[in-house]
Subunit: 355 residues, 2 copies
Amino acid sequence: LTQTERNVKTYELALIPGDGIGVDVTSAAMAVVETAAARHGFGINSQQFDWSCAHYLETGAMMPEDGIETLRRFDAILLGAVGWPQTVPDSVSLHGLLLPIRKAFTQYANIRPHRLLPGVQGPLKADAFDILCIRENTEGEYSGAGGRVHQGTLNEVATEVAIFTRAGVERILRFAFDQARSRRGHVTSVTKSNAQKHSMVFWDEMTRLVAQDYPDVTVDMMHIDAMAARMVMAPESLDVVVASNLFGDILTDLGAAIQGGLGFAASANICPDRSGPSMFEPVHGSAPDIAGKGIANPIAAIWSAAMMLDHLGETAAAQAILSAIEAATAKGIGTRPGSHSTDDITTAILAALKD
Amino acid sequence: LTQTERNVKTYELALIPGDGIGVDVTSAAMAVVETAAARHGFGINSQQFDWSCAHYLETGAMMPEDGIETLRRFDAILLGAVGWPQTVPDSVSLHGLLLPIRKAFTQYANIRPHRLLPGVQGPLKADAFDILCIRENTEGEYSGAGGRVHQGTLNEVATEVAIFTRAGVERILRFAFDQARSRRGHVTSVTKSNAQKHSMVFWDEMTRLVAQDYPDVTVDMMHIDAMAARMVMAPESLDVVVASNLFGDILTDLGAAIQGGLGFAASANICPDRSGPSMFEPVHGSAPDIAGKGIANPIAAIWSAAMMLDHLGETAAAQAILSAIEAATAKGIGTRPGSHSTDDITTAILAALKD
Ligand SMILES: CC(C)[C@H](C(=O)O)[C@@H](O)C(=O)O
Ligand SMILES: CC(C)[C@H](C(=O)O)[C@@H](O)C(=O)O
């Protein structure tokens, strides 16, 4: 090793392609990350894990028992997609791989940017919006608490218990207000406190409390129903949006829709105190219908990888990747379903990156 | 009374204008209903109740203690809007008037049609959709169960318990499948069973069970996040949509958005076995910002009144009102916020009705 090579900062990266098109898009994203690393003077040491539904069918588990411990030593996780409902129920695959990682490493902030890339036609007439959704990622409506009694009888009752903790709500709100400071200084906090009078009234109270520490950030509070309408009718009025696990889940799929589809929706599952690795993944799923055809759009995965480099401190490389994506879509590459193959899109982005 | 007058079928109607623009739009709707009644040979005997936030400030209650008993003898309820958050918290006003009526009369089916009226510009590029959302209206995520412990401390935990009963889920699904039979024969059932594994898995099971009794109806099952995206990306692919209280709430505001705004969103709270009155109300709220200015769009309220007449069996009158609304909007009347006053729009619809 030369002196230079030895001094290069190198990141340890866990790669989990997962199922279906997850495999195609993570391989595209890795090609882009490696090119960016070479040009921006850092190293990537990646280790791939074949944890997936196929792995489940072979071994009876989505990941080994020590899977979480194995991941702990990495600087970041890049994930493709999890789920293959034809052979493994989602309730098994997601609860056996994706969701435990989010919880185990306290990746409580799920960040999803929504804006139109140049050249992409969205379903809305509106095209000038730039929204950052911050979704609570560890508790709330997806706590898993609840149960069923008199199952299978005419008297059956099923409950689902949403659980919100002070720590959980406060930290995600602070995270959102912090994000707003480096953007346009506005937070919209989304609840449904007129109908859910325990959990959502609590969230509203916490929003008012946290807002006091951010006099420089403006805040509005909206109900999820009105908010869903606003995403469609006035998306340009939004800056940072913060919401519970369920509401954030819904709003970010809606955000993906208005930005032209899931092919463009990137996401980061952030562990803000860095006590464990953060995880980066496109919002889309494994897409069994187009898996293995080489036509999946890798842009969401590549954008997610750029968010990863940004999180690791490689902001110039992250910015260069985003610019390369934009250069490609501005030329119409990858902007419409089926117009280009996964390879074509990746090649165009790599070329723009080398420019 | 002449013989004819004595033989005219007369409906007993409870009118609750409520707050803000609720007053303007119900008066517009009543004018249309009365004209339709005169032309179609039936009578309307209406009694008005001033139950509202103003009533609360005077009396300490949104409605009298025997309010529900008073309403029981009516054939239908026409409601404007409830809520005036400046003086009465929503958690008081809604839980003191709107929500108890829905529950007391087992108005378990909240029906909301979403399509573009002629001349109305929606926010989507897509314009050819015709969706009927059926929202469960009595239980689920808005059950009110749950609570808070260690309130106000750093250890606070808030819970919200969604409660789904076999009776509640089965009846709303059957209602939706029945509706599909008189439309295009397709039902989309919306859950989030990959993350809410008690309540939503139960709903999915019930969907499969009920579907067996409707071999002539096709069904698909979607998660709420993907569904929100689909409403925006492919609304024309939807016919009847059935969802829980919360999911239906969100999807119908989204439906209102894609149909051009809340000014066009009508709704019916139906008690299908007619053991009590059904209630008809525009989806919009009291809109404090434009209340009393005479510029509220009455179309949603008038459309809701048409749904009321349809429910009462006056299908020709209901159809005539809808045609009159369409005749007005086709001329550009009431199609854009602020373009016409409440009176102008009502006058145009009345004129079309008399044509
Ligand atoms: C697959 C599913 C459990 C997941 C979620 O709801 O968290 C997905 O929809 C997402 O948004 O990341
Ligand atoms: C006002 C509110 C409680 C109500 C609801 O959520 O039911 C409204 O949003 C609606 O959709 O009718």
